[in-house]
Structure formats: structure tokens, C-alpha cells
């Protein structure tokens, strides 16, 4: 981010010099900070509302229910993972689903440590570790609360109207990601058996 951000600023000034829009650019710098404040303020209420609702969900035991629901899927996707690793993975994915970012990452790290312990070729990530990472990077979130809140702040009558397309796109990316991992595991497994 250091380089990206610095480049954004420096390129802006250079480009402003070339196009002769230095005035506008300096104004935009001040304006940008104001936009940040106004976005945040109109966004704060909705955000707190959603974290409140998600907390109700979390404490109501929906998380445990979901965790139990997805555990057969986890078993299918991580055939060689142990009991403890599978538990962490289920918790990690449940937290992802519910958008509990601060619960998801620690669980995911515990899961990958556990998978690392089970890994027989430590310098090379195991199939299960790749699967865990890809499931997390393609990430399915049931209620994208930040985006709903941001859209509300930008002024729309129906900020949640993007939920269905988000579910659709997430589902596609999860399925494709999982398929990619499976294909890769199959290919590298075959190379390991056939070669050497």
C-alpha cells in the first residue's frame, strides 16, 4: 500500500502539472478529506446497526448451527484433515459467512497452523492448506453489511438490492476456486506418482 498510495499522490501532482489542473487537484485533496468525514458519518449509523444485528445472530447460536450445517461439506473438501483442524476450519468459514471478520482470521490461522502440523512436506503447502486459503479468498458473505451501509451513505432507496447478485457472484467464485484447487491437486498428485 505504501507504494500504491504514494504513487497515487505523486501521479496526481505530476498529471495536474501537465494538464494545468493544479488548483482543482489541491481543492480535491481538501475535498477528499471532507468526503471521507461525510461518508463515514452517514455510514456510521448503518454500520453500527448491522454490527448490532450480527451480534444478536452471533449470540443466538446461529453460528453453532451454521457450523454444524457446514461440517459435512468441510469433511468432503478436506478429506485428509484431522478432527481439530476441521473444527477450526468450520468455525473459520462460519465466521466468514456471518461477516465476523475479527473472529474469522484467528480461527483461520489456528486452522492453517493445525494443517501445517499435519503436513508431511512442511516446505510445500498441503492440498488442504491451499483449499483453506482459496475458500477464504473467494469468501462467501451472507450479509455484506459494509457495502450495504456504504450504498446507503451514497444515497440509494434500496441499498440491499445487491445482495442477490453478490450471492450469485460469490457462489460462482467459490465453486470455481474449489474446482481449481481440486484440479491442481489432481495434477500435482499425478505428477508425483508418475514422475520421479
Amino acid at each position: 500500500m505504501t507504494y500504491i498510495w504514494s504513487a497515487m499522490i505523486i501521479i496526481s501532482f505530476i498529471s495536474a502539472g501537465i494538464t494545468g489542473r493544479m488548483d482543482e487537484t489541491v481543492n480535491a485533496m481538501i475535498g477528499g478529506t471532507q468526503t471521507a468525514v461525510s461518508t463515514l458519518i452517514s455510514f456510521a449509523g448503518a454500520m453500527c446497526f448491522w454490527t448490532g444485528i450480527m451480534k444478536i445472530a452471533e449470540n443466538s447460536g446461529i453460528a453453532d448451527l451454521l457450523c454444524r450445517l457446514i461440517s459435512p461439506v468441510v469433511k468432503r473438501l478436506f478429506p485428509s484433515a484431522g478432527e481439530k483442524a476441521r473444527y477450526y476450519i468450520s468455525m473459520n468459514l462460519t465466521a466468514d459467512l456471518l461477516g465476523m471478520g475479527n473472529a474469522s482470521t484467528p480461527m483461520g490461522m489456528l486452522a492453517s497452523e493445525e494443517l501445517d502440523r499435519e503436513n508431511k512436506t512442511p516446505s510445500r503447502p498441503s492440498d488442504d492448506m491451499c483449499m483453506l486459503v482459496v475458500l477464504n479468498t473467494t469468501c462467501f458473505q451472507l450479509i455484506p453489511s459494509t457495502i450495504i451501509a456504504l450504498r446507503g451513505a451514497a444515497g440509494t432507496s434500496d441499498p440491499a438490492s445487491i445482495i442477490l447478485p453478490i450471492w450469485f457472484a460469490s457462489a460462482v467464485s467459490v465453486v470455481v476456486g474449489v474446482a481449481a484447487v481440486k484440479v491442481m491437486c489432481f495434477l500435482s498428485g499425478r505428477r508425483a506418482r508418475g514422475g520421479v
Binding site: 500500500m1 498510495w5 468526503t35 451480534k55 512442511p122 503447502p125 445487491i162 470455481v176
Partner: protein, 169 residues
């Protein structure tokens, strides 16, 4: 569409009530943790929104967009969402900043605004995620995970485009 949010909220509250949970104090508790989140998001939001509006005002953004448009036009992706696509895998708060800039600039209900929202919601901070998850392991190469994650992301963006453009979801 308008019924999705109400039904989710109703379901959660009724489920919690049926289990005799302290719904109100849970809500207050959670809303409080939202404040921490907002506090964390504010500094990067200032950084990214400022830089993004400078890029736009200086004309660099337009140059960048018209530079990319021949390529993105071929896949049907509006070049206006490219800044989001590029920052999304690297920084979560950066993506929030860019998304909010897009929403403010083009409108939340515009095709570009909707597409940007869907892309942001269906993808993750891929590179950050890979770094964090492999950080505590003994694995030395992440070569195997990266292509799969990127394939998943590209599929997600494609699906987002299809959902917003073709299916009209």
C-alpha cells in the same frame, strides 16, 4: 428485493427470542463494536479518498481509464471499476475507499455503482489473506495457492458482471 433485508433482520431477532437471548443488550453490545470498526476504517478512508479524488481532479484517472478501456471493453467490463478491481486483492480498507468514491461519483444505483458493489462484496483481499494464512506455517512457497485464488477471483468478477449486466439481478 426490498424484502431481503427485513426478512433477514426478522429471522435473526425471532430466532434469538426463541432461544430466550437478551436481544437488546446484544444489539447495544454489537453496535458498540461497530464504533471500533469505524474508528479503524477512518484513517485509511481519508488516505484513499483523498488520493482517489486527487487522481480524478488531476485528470490522471481519466487518462488511466481511457488507457485501459480498449482492453476492458473487449471483456465488457466498464473501465471505471478497474481501480477497484486492482486495489481489492491488496487492501480491504483501500477497496472500501475506492468503492465509496465510485458510489459518490457515479451513483449507487448506476450500473457502474452496482457492479462495483457486487465486485467488492463477492471478492476478498486475496493477497493479504494468503500472506496472513501462510505466515505462521512452515510453507516456503505459496505458488500453488495463488493461481487458484486468482482464478476464483476472476470467476467472481465475471459472475458479478453477468449478474448485473445480463441477469439484471
Amino acid at each position: 428485493m426490498i424484502y431481503i433485508t427485513p426478512s433477514i433482520i426478522m429471522l435473526i431477532i425471532i430466532f434469538a427470542l426463541s432461544r430466550k437471548k437478551a436481544v437488546y443488550s446484544d444489539f447495544i453490545d454489537g453496535a458498540g463494536s461497530g464504533l471500533t470498526l469505524i474508528k479503524d476504517i477512518f484513517p485509511p478512508l481519508v488516505a484513499v479518498l483523498t488520493a482517489a479524488s486527487m487522481l480524478r481532479a488531476s485528470g490522471a484517472m481519466d487518462a488511466f481509464i481511457s488507457f485501459l478501456s480498449p482492453v476492458t471493453e473487449k471483456i465488457g467490463l466498464p473501465p471505471e471499476v478497474m481501480p477497484l478491481v486492482m486495489i481489492r486483492p491488496i487492501s480491504g480498507s483501500g477497496a472500501i475507499g475506492v468503492l465509496s468514491e465510485i458510489l459518490n461519483d457515479y451513483g449507487a444505483d448506476s450500473m457502474i455503482g452496482r457492479l462495483a458493489s457486487v465486485i467488492c462484496g463477492s471478492t476478498e483481499t486475496t493477497f493479504y489473506c494468503i500472506a496472513v494464512y501462510f505466515a505462521r506455517t512452515r510453507a516456503r512457497s505459496v505458488k500453488r495457492a495463488v493461481p487458484c485464488a486468482i482464478i476464483g477471483d476472476i470467476a467472481g468478477i465475471g459472475a458479478a458482471l453477468a449478474a448485473v449486466r445480463l441477469l439484471g439481478l
